[in-house]
């Protein structure tokens, strides 16, 4: 467990550099389209998902790998040795045990939050009903026949006993048949227990609308949610949150997720309004505002820069398609960033054991072991020193702890490790 935690720590440090780079990219290429910005965040997700990365000569990553590898190795040795009272050396627990447990608890809490939230939302939607969409056009404005989009109780077309599909429960057989006969073109439900539109579900996404919505707003919301579904945002956001649950200890990732969500919304707005007229944009912005207005209270704290809604509406009203050159430049910068920060620096090969001179001065730490019954099992002596990290297997016939002298044999060279009785310093000399 500690080893896994250390590995994740290492990945999160690498990802942290990448997040900083993406923040820089976003600041420089402010006019870049939303989908490109989402792609930048995709790079961060890739970094978090891949446990190993290739080495390349162009890498600019600060080489923290050695530190983590050393920690992981030490930890592995520790977890496989046992204590003999009095020796300096540690047993099953390491200094990483407590942080690892804290990490597990944090991750568990966040994953639990996902589950509980899904259940809660599902319960709220238990009395929701499908909405008929007689008007198949996806125009945002245009003559709105109030009979078309309004929810209508039509015996053949409502879903009774709706259950969230993500939990694998199906509606009763009758309902399935009815749904197949007259299935709505898009799965849209309405419920009085929700107050803003959203997409629910992972594999069979459902567009959920609140009870009281003006026709105009409803069209805009449906278009926006459909864009989410087409872009598979309901997956990306969830994957991102799961990644956040695993790497919750990296604070940069929280900022990354928040900005990622904002970029997703912007990208959806762009997708919906790609060829929209000014009138349509106005209607969309108005719908956005009406759906965001909660209680009319003065803001308790000053907002950090522009509030989400204001920024989005400003963007919607001022939207101009980014020039090809801008997109190409931003994409090129993204590729360079990936090359530079998604790869590890090349490391020169270490010295071979035969060349290393293990002397008293450069010994950093030795961990040794003896099993509880005093049996002389093959003993691993882990010697860490400046010239390299050597792991010696002490052959059984040679190991003799009563003399406090241990012969180390790593195949090529032989070293004598003299262990004083009080378990203090260790001396090493070469055997002739």
């Amino acid at each position: 467990m500690e080893g896994v935690f250390l590995a994740l720590l290492h990945v999160s440090v690498n990802a942290g550099w990448l997040v900083l780079a993406v923040l820089l990219l976003r600041a420089v290429f402010r006019k870049a389209p939303g989908w490109l910005r989402c792609a930048f965040w995709g790079m961060v997700a890739y970094c978090l998902l891949c446990p190993v990365s290739a080495a390349s000569p162009w890498s600019l990553r600060p080489d923290t790998g050695r530190i983590f590898e050393r920690c992981i190795q030490l930890d592995q040795v520790r977890s496989s040795v046992m204590l003999e009272g009095g020796r300096t050396g540690v047993g099953g627990l390491s200094i990483w045990s407590v942080p690892a447990v804290v990490w597990l608890v944090g991750m568990g809490a966040m994953l639990l939050f996902i589950f509980v939230s899904f259940r809660r939302l599902g319960r709220r939607l238990a009395t929701a009903e499908f909405v008929l969409e007689a008007d198949a056009s996806r125009a945002l404005t245009g003559g709105c026949d109030s009979n078309n989009v309004r929810s209508r109780y039509d015996f053949g077309k409502t879903a009774r006993g709706f259950r969230p599909h993500i939990f694998g429960k199906r509606v009763s057989g009758n309902d399935e048949r009815r749904k197949r006969q007259t299935a709505p073109a898009r799965r849209i439900v309405q419920s009085r227990h929700i107050d803003s539109p959203f997409v629910f579900g992972v594999f069979r996404p459902l567009i959920c609308l609140p009870g009281r919505m003006a026709e105009q707003d409803r069209r805009c919301a449906i278009a926006h949610e459909q864009a989410h579904i087409d872009r598979r945002d309901h997956w990306w956001k969830l994957i991102g949150f799961v990644l956040l649950s695993v790497y919750w200890f990296q604070p940069l990732l929280w900022a990354a997720y928040a900005l990622f969500c904002r970029d997703i919304e912007t990208a959806c707005d762009e997708k919906v309004l790609r060829n929209a007229t000014l009138e349509e944009r106005r209607a969309y912005a108005a719908a956005l505002l009406r759906c965001s207005v909660g209680r009319r209270e003065p803001a308790a704290f000053p907002a950090f820069g522009e509030s989400g809604v204001k920024g989005r509406i400003r963007y919607v009203m001022d939207y101009r398609k980014a020039s090809c050159r801008m997109v190409a430049a931003a994409a090129a910068a993204g590729v360079i960033t990936a090359l530079v920060l998604l790869t590890d620096p090349v490391r020169s090969a270490g010295q071979s054991a035969a060349e290393a001179k293990v002397t008293a001065e450069n010994i950093w730490q030795v961990v040794d072991s003896l099993d509880e019954s005093g049996q002389r099992e093959p003993v691993y002596l882990y010697v860490v020193c400046e010239t390299g990290d050597w792991r010696f297997l002490v052959s059984r016939s040679i190991c003799d702890f009563w003399d406090r002298e241990v012969l180390l044999n790593n195949g090529d060279s032989r070293y004598v490790l003299a262990v004083p009785y009080d378990g203090g310093l260790y001396y090493v000399g070469e055997v002739a």
């Binding site: 809660r120 009903e129 997409v199 949150f241 965001s292 909660g294 209680r295 009319r296 509030s307 204001k310």
Partner: protein
């Protein structure tokens, strides 16, 4: 006794019923036509379904409700639909817009941006 579930448009129907009950079913069908746009057959079907579930009672063409509005609302509250959580959606849900506390002046400013 467990309060039966009331679905979305049935709830709107029940609101009408609670306002006018006890009421003759024909008159009720007329009001439903005016306020909800339902045909007569639709209204009768709804009345039948709700009486099967034990929400309303239909005797001699007079419809009365068996559960009060407070009971229905209370039952739905019980199912962990606390009003306090109503405004907040989890961050991993793809939404149209999230509820935000906007002051009146901020709302005014945003309208100005839109109308410009």
């Amino acid at each position: 006794m467990v309060t039966p579930k009331v679905f979305e448009s049935e709830y709107r129907f029940c609101l009408i019923l609670w306002k006018h009950e006890p009421i003759n079913s024909t008159k009720l069908a007329k009001i439903c036509r005016e306020e909800l746009g339902w045909s007569r057959t639709t209204t009768y079907t709804v009345i039948r379904r709700l009486s099967d579930r034990g929400v309303v009672k239909n005797e001699n063409a007079v419809v009365t409700s068996l559960v009060s509005k407070e009971e229905v609302q209370a039952a739905e509250m019980d199912e962990m639909m606390e009003k306090t959580f109503e405004g907040s959606l989890p961050a991993f849900i793809a939404a149209f817009a999230r509820r935000q506390k906007l002051s009146d002046s901020e709302v005014e400013e945003i309208w100005r941006i839109i109308e410009k």
